[in-house]
Subunit: 355 residues, 2 copies
Amino acid sequence: MKTIAVEPGSGEPAILEKPSPVPADGEALVRTLRVGVDGTDHEVIAGEHGGVPEGEDHLVLGHEAVGVVEDANGTALEEGQIVVPTVRRPPNGSNRYFESGYPDMAPEGEYHERGIVGAHGFMAEYFTSPAEYLVPIPAELAPLGFLVEPITISEKAIEHAVASRSAFDWQPESAMVLGNGSLGLLTVAMLAKTLEFDRTYCLGRRDRPDPTIDIVESLGATYVDSRETPVSEVPEAYEGMDFIYEATGYAPHAFETIEALAPNGVGALLGVPSSWTFEIDGGALHEEFVLHNKALVGSVNANRGHFEAAIDTLTQLPSSFLNDLVTGIYDVEAFEAAFVDDDTTIKTAVEFDRI
Amino acid sequence: MKTIAVEPGSGEPAILEKPSPVPADGEALVRTLRVGVDGTDHEVIAGEHGGVPEGEDHLVLGHEAVGVVEDANGTALEEGQIVVPTVRRPPNGSNRYFESGYPDMAPEGEYHERGIVGAHGFMAEYFTSPAEYLVPIPAELAPLGFLVEPITISEKAIEHAVASRSAFDWQPESAMVLGNGSLGLLTVAMLAKTLEFDRTYCLGRRDRPDPTIDIVESLGATYVDSRETPVSEVPEAYEGMDFIYEATGYAPHAFETIEALAPNGVGALLGVPSSWTFEIDGGALHEEFVLHNKALVGSVNANRGHFEAAIDTLTQLPSSFLNDLVTGIYDVEAFEAAFVDDDTTIKTAVEFDRI
């Protein structure tokens, strides 16, 4: 079967023929429909993040998949059922994070991530998975099922942020997303359309006309150009934000978020930058944290509960938004187009098969 | 009546005779028993924090009080009842933070703090207060009732920290308190004796022999000398901490806490430093935040629920610990001794009257 894989050091994905997998006991065989591409894939391809499975010289890419059960193999799944796979797998049998249903909270060494680190991904005509890691979705969501996994990332981050404010009667009204990539835009849509934020903002650094700015504004959100309004000046220029979602990976934003929050606000940090030393007014930030009861939560990955929430969210997002967000679906033979990262590309997927 | 007050710029407290207060409707008159002294008092005296009530040239000090109801004045309180006053008061009638029971979440401008900013404190032979801000405590706690308010600070911080970890099955085992002042020691005692932490640590910078180190060790906690083990090296030297409570006000600690936390850990920030610019590896800290699901929560003040929890906590703390913690109770005439801040002083209070 055809897979899309990367060899370390090659810096680019390529088609790789591999034998079709055979499901083990407890596993189902899934025929892949579509697999999304995101920033993590680009980081994996560039060798900045992740790693190949032990003993292998390549990594099959892809962690945002939707497929159809081809062989239920005696599991509780049904053949023909549409499923989205979760991403993390236990490296050696299992561990308490997986057993308790919180693989997303496992520390390094206690998980593999399919298509990212230690385990092959889903960019293949077929993949196998233990049935417990395959989340059924309604058949009508199949075409956009590859958006479930990125939505889970925000479901988790928002859940943790809200939890951090649960010791008082938090009444958030304003929210800002830092970053106008596909994850940022999905999150703006969630905040504006499925959650109860009265005023939403999205910060980027693009010139108009720009399709992401158009999407931000079509969602009723305000576009903020970080070249004109640095994050730290957001309260003065707009308002202090009750919630900030950082999806830029630009390290100063993690700390400027403290200043941009309204009193009692919370920032969710999602980006994964590299080492970078810079100056901050740590005294002022520390004081601001304390005297205004602010919080920051880091968040990575997601668990099955977040997949179930994301499926529900996907049904609620406006179809016009989803149409604008997905800028290209490409056949396996034209897969390179799905990995182009330019200003007209927002969200792409590779199509392996149709239902 | 005698009060202990400070005039801005004087840099030291003094006895000030003032007329005894008369309770307004809804207020009770309280005869003051004891009022504790803490770091905030020293900051207020030094002019680094807080401010006098509008139109006044002095501030009566004291926010850690215990008293006895002298005149219930038609409120639901009973004369002779022992009470601890909460600290925050609404500046103009009321506002939503007070109405909802969360005055501790009010931003600047929406609160006064008695004895700190905008309202006179409790270091007076008598004070009045709306009955709703007087929390009854058992009579046998009266001698140590001045410890209730500092305990509330930790009740709130711990509640918010735990809330931030409530979206998964957090199972904390290790906790470190940064700072071995009286608040730090009270918190070590809470973590070791009333909460379920298996291993507790307290970080300071004192040479042995030292009474605070003795207290730390008598609580079964490990003393960590920050001159030998910087906060960032705690995981290597001891272990990553599931919970860190920062009570130093030393701004670098707020950021080093991110490194010292175990995966999925949370740091509560309590200190109130001044502006201070320094370098951090913001990229590494940001990445650590995200990939290990860490959280930081700032926390200030406390609400009535925390006072009720603190009263319960006070009954559970070992009396030997409390005896060691309180190094001096001084009559009003000898009040200066309660404000001495040296290595043999841990927690002091001024005694205005006995039951």
